[in-house]
Amino acid sequence: MKAQSSFMCEDTQLIKRVLSGEKDAFELIIQKYQRSLFNYISRTVGERELALDFTQEVFIKTYASLRSFRSEYKFTTWLFKIASNTIIDYWRKKKIDTVSIDQNRDRYSTAPPKQIADKGPSISNRFEIHELRTRIDQVLEDIPINLRELFVWRHINEFSYEEIAEIKKMPVGTVKNRVFQAKEMIRRRIKDMK
């Protein structure tokens, strides 16, 4: 908690420096968040070059609206909210359904989602861990974007459920439920792979 507040304070200080005309301080902000932002974006859009463009675009948008940032909020939350809106807009333009989770649940899963016992051998018997990682990355591209981004935030960016809930303005319970849904969807699809 102490470390988190010191991070927030550091971000606020950097923003103040940028706003007072010290443009170079923004490069420190970029260096601090570029890797986590790029990892989120590259796993939600799929293509590396596109992800690089989007990461740049998000930093530019953040810089341009820096005056509207309110210091009582967490900078990471604000940054990832901008990123999420950019990505959702991109998928909307591509006319991919990002709205109905329940419809997607029906479309992507053949078994009832809450059932725990699966048919066939377990994934631990079929795959080595490095192989399973590759499979997760492959399947991740096929799950609905609104589940994918929550999964990425939780497992790649290592955000807490509370932080995700703050970014998406959702109740924590809903976030947990959707992240579990994403995990089950990925796991079942890997199990169905030949």
């Binding site: 940028v18 706003l19 443009k23 170079d24 923004f26 490069e27 970029i30 260096q31 570029q34 890797r35 790029f38 990892n39 590259s42 796993r43 590396r48 992800a51 690089l52 990461t55 740049q56 930093f59 530019i60 810089y63 341009a64 820096l66 005056r67 989602p113 809450k114 059932q115 725990i116 016992a117 699966d118 377990s122 994934i123 631990s124 861990i129 399973l132 990682r133 997760i136 990355d137 999964f151 497992h155 790649i156 290592e158 459920y161 947990k176 439920n177 992240v179 579990f180 995990k183 089950e184 990925i186 796991r187």
Partner: protein
């Protein structure tokens, strides 16, 4: 305890359960093979999900972004721009007058001053007339209300309270009817 659903397994593995709930789950796992296998399956999956490889950026990425940044909008600069635009518009106006009339700046300013003064004078005359009419109307209103108040006071002295109440009620009804009638007459039927 019944067998666990997937959500509960994840809550258990991610240590999101209370101590009491965790104890219940662990007691159940000791006696249920199906749930134990399900938990191990998800534990292995989570281990892989939590250690996915991180994508790397080009070394000069931050410099590239810095080059692409637009100028930061400055509020003070906004006011300065507005002031500069006004000054430029005034200069342009003077230049136009100069080109059309051939007058120098001082002559143009005097002419502009006279024009403005004439406008103020004519506006002042209109303002005085409007003021006179409005004050006359106000005086009339005051007289009328005084008359109304005096007649009401005289009536209360002459008439007994029951008749007064009756008269007030009738007045209210007639006024409302007149108001509604006038409204319908002005705005038409609805």
């Amino acid at each position: 305890m019944n067998c666990m659903d997937a959500d509960r397994i994840y809550l258990y593995l991610e240590e999101e359960l209370s101590a009491q709930e965790k104890d219940l789950v662990e007691a159940h796992l000791l006696i249920c093979d199906t749930c134990r296998r399900a938990v191990e399956e998800r534990r292995f999956f989570l281990e892989a999900a939590n250690s996915l490889p991180k994508a790397e950026l080009p070394v000069d990425f931050s410099q590239q972004v810095m080059k692409a940044l637009p100028p930061l909008r400055n509020r003070a600069l906004g006011w300065l721009t507005a002031a500069a635009s006004t000054a430029a518009a005034a200069a342009l106006m003077w230049l136009t007058i100069f080109l059309l009339t051939g007058d120098t700046l001082s002559k143009s300013l005097i002419a502009l001053n006279q024009l403005l003064w004439n406008q103020v004078q004519s506006f002042a005359l209109i303002f005085v007339k409007v003021f006179k009419v409005v004050s006359l109307l106000l005086k009339l209103c005051v007289r009328f209300s005084e008359l109304l108040f005096n007649s009401f006071t005289s009536l209360t002295k002459i008439l007994n309270p029951e008749v007064q109440i009756l008269l007030i009620t009738l007045t209210v009804i007639i006024s409302t009817a007149l108001f509604l009638g006038a409204k319908r007459f002005i705005f038409g039927e609805k």
